[in-house]
């Protein structure tokens, strides 16, 4: 049984668990063993985007507008597709400048302007209050619905006394938690690890709870998607939801998409978790697709729950915003109903805590501190301990924000649907988009432009969206909406300047964005930027170029003493941490800061940046200026410094490139050298082989000559025999020398080729005629098979004959001793002419088939075999054929003999008809 006290006890226990998680994460962070340094936790913390708007409101929206609840999640997906250009850049900038909030970001970009920071803060607070009130409404409504269990009905809309209003207690409890989570200490880096851990846990809980309800409704209450949708399709009133125009016009769809695209970047709490709390840029790379996946998963069951609720409850009895809770209640699933309530509570508290912390930081750093510092009569800057003041301001701001939200809920937001309230806030946050996107991509955007754009956009937002909502509780006459102020029809807030036919949201977005972007661009173009504005503009837009460069305020000229700076820092972040920070600086820069008296400019800007982490850029600037007597150096000098830095960076890039090129060159040289050495070795080898080859015939000529000389009485027959040997060896020597010369000429490329087109048939026949005596001597049979049509070849005729003669004489030499048989074939192949000469000798073993084309390598390396050639013939043949663009190789015949083949590419000409 779900009694009120059970619900309260469970909810309270859950909040305590959250706090325990936060406390543990903070402790771990203090000990240096962070538990949030994971892309998963980071993704879940970004999922704070899904609030009770998603948890309860989406179903309500789907019940009346079909898929029109989806653009709110498709828009962020679109933005994350461009994360590389937008979100990554914002994070990089924020890390470089220690940005603490969206107000800090905008004020910092436009010259650390305090007025701009204050304006952004005001817009954010006014704009987000409806959004927080939405969460209060969701929690109090769900609580009131659940505690009527087992009865399922809507709590009566009555004017409860203030103290009996559940929403007030919800607001106070949430304020207490936000204070506990977010303002326990002032942190130089502004990381709230405990808060992030708690929010990530809540994101998990709300996802599980919503999926549990979704599965229960789809498969428990109904019989799966098919059953549910088929029954829905039978009812025209529900089937209507399945079309794209169920939720209004196309224009509204596009408006919602654009709004949510702006919101995922510009909502203060999204900026807080995505940018400020990001501890590692690498996490973003995972989150960019995990977060859209999270949104996809949490939205799968929205339409099924909405449809099921419409089918199950009589029209109008139960508000669709509560279907997530009421369907399990109706089915008597107590545990699930409680889980759904906890899920909704998670979604709401996550949003409220992060938003309250982000807004309180902004109120403190960008609104109150600058004002207090200006009021010199308060002598606030002279206070000893500023950090307790800062914390006090933030706590007060949190309570104020939640009370304002409660007031909005109690007096204005009560009858509205959740999504409608939330969209008002989205429209306010979207006003920041031009200043942010313009600020990171356009150096020309100026402070005056941003001020003008934001002011105009904000005013029009108030006039077209916020003011009309005041008419409901009767604070403004309804005639204001219907007939315009003072009856001026042109100024009707829902049809400004006669623009009619749009839904109120699209209407408001059109006018406010027109004025905002127009004001920003036009005023930026008209105004002149101050020095600090231009510096900041360059540093923001070119953050990737200057990320190694000193950051902006490096350009202090003037003097400050180290003790002054340290005192200043200590007043805001405590003495211990100030000393620690200075010691760190000294270590990095090799200085003993404690001994320094005059602070160098780098230390001044360092102090400013650390201070900015605690109180925002604008206030930090004011504070540092109060102790550092001096001014920013002139714009030309600054630009020069920036240019120099980027030139140095470019120069070093250039150097790197050059050294890479040198390395490549060295490698090439080394390779060439190795090749040369190899060639040198080959040449030596060649020479020694050649001399050996030359010496053999010379030796035999010499010895036979000596025999003839020494023995004059030798018989005539013997003499003739010896002389024949001498003649033969001389011939061999001549041939060898000719071939060596040939080869040398070929390798040197100094040979004269007489390239011409000719019919290969005559060449083959000529070669056969030349060698026919060799075959006849050996009684070998020569068989010639020449195809009928042969293509013309382009080659040197005599050289081709030389090759063929060489191959034929080899064949004659190596064919079978007794029954020699040599086949010459010539045929046309697709790639040209192929001539093959096959013998029936012993063949060439496979391992030698490549080797025999090398110089002085003969097939038979047997010592007993007498060399039967010069060992250069095949080498020369290969050189010649390769010069013709063809190739030559040896293969085995079926009978085990050798077949030498050569292929010569054909000219693209008609085959020469057979010459008769």
């Amino acid at each position: 049984m779900l009694s009120t006290w059970t619900i309260v006890a469970v909810a309270f226990a859950y909040l305590c668990l959250l706090f325990a998680i936060a406390y543990y994460a903070d402790k771990r962070a203090d000990a240096g063993r962070s538990i949030i340094r994971s892309p998963w936790i980071y993704t879940l913390s970004i999922a704070v985007f899904c609030t009770s708007w998603t948890f309860y409101g989406s179903v309500g929206r789907a019940a009346s507008g079909g898929i029109s609840f989806l653009p709110i999640y498709l828009g962020p997906t679109l933005v994350f597709l461009l994360w590389w250009f937008v979100i990554r850049k914002i994070i990089r900038i924020s890390k470089a400048h220690r940005i603490t909030s969206i107000a800090d970001f905008i004020s910092s970009r436009y010259g650390k302007s305090t007025s701009l920071g204050a304006l952004v803060t005001v817009i954010a607070v006014v704009g987000i209050i409806p959004y927080i009130s939405l969460q209060l409404k969701a929690v109090s409504t769900s609580f009131n619905v659940l505690r009527q269990y087992p009865e399922v009905s809507m709590p009566l809309q009555q004017n409860l006394p203030l103290l009996a209003d559940t929403a007030l207690w919800v607001a106070l409890i949430m304020a207490a938690f936000a204070i506990l989570f977010g303002t326990r200490h002032i942190d130089a880096a502004e990381h709230h690890e405990g808060m992030v851990a708690a929010v990530a846990f809540e994101s998990l809980v709300k996802l599980v709870a919503f999926l549990a309800v979704g599965v229960f409704v789809t498969f428990g209450v109904n019989d799966g998607f098919g059953d549910l949708f088929r029954r829905a399709a039978a009812e025209p009133a529900i089937a209507r939801l399945f079309f794209d125009d169920a939720g209004g016009s196309y224009l509204q769809w596009t408006t919602l998409t654009l709004l949510s695209m702006a919101a995922i970047v510009c909502l203060p709490r999204q900026f807080q978790v995505t940018v400020v709390e990001n501890v590692n840029e690498q996490h973003l790379a995972r989150a960019v697709w995990l977060f859209p996946l999270y949104m996809l998963v949490i939205n799968i069951f929205v339409l099924p729950i909405a449809v099921s609720g419409l089918l199950h409850f009589p029209a109008g009895l139960v508000h669709a915003d509560t279907f997530v809770l009421t369907i399990p209640m109706q089915e008597r699933a107590e545990g699930l109903a409680l889980l759904a309530f906890i899920g909704g509570l998670s979604a709401a508290t996550g949003m409220v805590i992060v938003a309250a912390i982000a807004l309180s930081t902004m109120i403190c750093n960008d609104l109150i501190m600058p004002a207090l510092l200006r009021l010199t009569s308060l002598r606030i800057a002279d206070r000893e301990d500023m950090s307790s003041l800062l914390i006090g301001i933030r706590r007060g701001a949190i309570i104020l924000i939640l009370l304002l939200s409660f007031a909005y809920f109690r007096f204005i937001g009560q009858p509205e649907a959740l999504v409608t309230i939330g969209l008002v806030s989205f429209a306010a946050a979207a006003q920041f988009a031009p200043a942010i996107i313009g600020g990171i991509f356009w150096k020309g955007g100026s402070r005056h432009g941003a001020l003008a754009g934001l002011t105009l956009g904000f005013v029009l937002w108030i006039y077209t969206l916020l003011l009309p909502s005041f008419a409901r509780p009767g604070w403004l006459p309804t005639s204001f909406i219907e007939h315009g102020p003072l009856g001026i029809e042109l100024l009707r807030p829902y049809a400004l300047f006669g623009l009619q036919g749009l839904d109120s949201l699209s209407h408001a977005m059109f006018w406010s964005m027109l004025a905002n972007i127009g004001g920003y661009v036009v005023v930026s173009l008209l105004s002149r930027q101050s020095a600090i504005e231009r510096i900041q503009a360059v540093l923001f837009v070119d953050v990737f170029r200057h990320s190694g460069a000193p950051s902006g305020s490096h350009f202090w000229r003037g003097s400050a003493t180290v003790p002054d700076l340290k005192d200043l820092l200590a007043r805001f972040i405590g003495l211990r941490r100030a000393e620690h920070a200075f010691a760190d600086y000294g270590r990095v820069h090799g200085l003993n800061v404690a001994k320094l008296r005059e602070a160098e400019p780098g230390l001044v800007s360092f102090t400013e940046r650390v201070l900015a982490g605690a109180i925002g850029a604008a206030s930090a600037r004011v504070m540092v200026a109060s102790v550092a007597k001096g001014e920013v150096v002139g714009i030309e000098e600054v630009m020069e410094i920036l240019e120099e830095t980027s030139q140095v960076i470019e120069y070093s890039h250039g150097l790197e490139q050059k050294s890479r090129e040198l390395e490549a060159l060295t490698a090439e040289l080394r390779e060439a050298n190795a090749r040369l050495q190899e060639l040198d070795r080959m040449k030596d080898e060649f020479l020694s082989t050649v001399s050996h080859e030359l010496r053999t015939p010379l030796t035999s000529i010499r010895s036979f000559s000596e025999i003839l000389f020494d023995n004059p009485e030798l018989g005539i027959l013997d003499r003739r025999k010896f002389l024949a040997v001498i003649v033969k060896e001389s011939e061999r020597l001549t041939r060898l020398i000719n071939q060596i010369l040939d080869l040398a000429k070929m390798e040197a490329g100094s040979i004269d080729w007489e390239m011409q087109h000719f019919d290969p048939r005559t060449v083959i026949e000529e070669a056969i005629a030349v060698t026919s005596t060799l075959f006849a001597d050996k009684a070998a049979r020569l068989e010639v098979q020449i195809a009928g049509e042969l293509p013309t070849v382009y080659a040197d005729r005599d050289r081709l004959i030389q090759v063929l003669v060489n191959l034929l004489s080899n064949a004659a030499k190596f064919c079978d001793e007794k029954a020699g048989h040599v086949v010459v074939t010539a045929e046309v192949r697709p790639d040209g002419l192929q001539i093959a000469i096959a013998d029936n000798g012993r063949g060439v073993p496979p391992e030698n088939r490549e080797l025999i084309f090398e110089k002085f390598q003969q097939a038979s390396t047997n010592l007993t075999d007498k060399p039967r050639g010069t060992g250069l013939g095949l080498t020369i043949s290969r050189q010649i054929i390769e010069h013709f663009g063809g190739r030559i190789w040896v293969e085995a015949t079926p009978g085990g003999g050798a077949r030498f083949c050569l292929a010569v590419p054909a000219r693209r000409q008609a085959a020469v008809p057979r010459a008769v």
Binding site: L74, G224, G226, R577, D584
Partner: protein, 90 residues
């Protein structure tokens, strides 16, 4: 080495494709009364297209990261140490 640049271009292409896919008039193509696997066509289309876009986005990420220069190491005062060193409980 020009792959990372192309990954950047791909992410823009994917953005434009998704922008078209999730907005009218492409949506109206699927705004038909038929149920596919018992699910309204438009609803099914959006979720399938959404999942596809997310998958392509995930596929594109490693290429982008591979071509990127590492973020600059925290200089002067590393945020970790700053946040940790002398944190005071209040």
């Amino acid at each position: 080495m020009n792959r990372p640049r192309r990954n950047g271009e791909w992410s823009v292409v994917l953005f434009v494709v998704a922008l078209l896919a999730f907005n009218p008039p492409v949506l109206s193509i699927f705004s038909v009364p038929e149920l596919i696997f018992g699910i309204p066509t438009l609803y099914l289309y959006i979720f399938v297209a959404w999942g596809g876009v997310i998958a392509l986005l995930a596929l594109n990420v490693p290429g982008l990261m591979a071509g990127a220069e590492a973020p600059p190491p925290p200089r002067e005062l590393p945020p970790d140490e700053a946040g940790r060193g002398g944190r005071e409980e209040r």
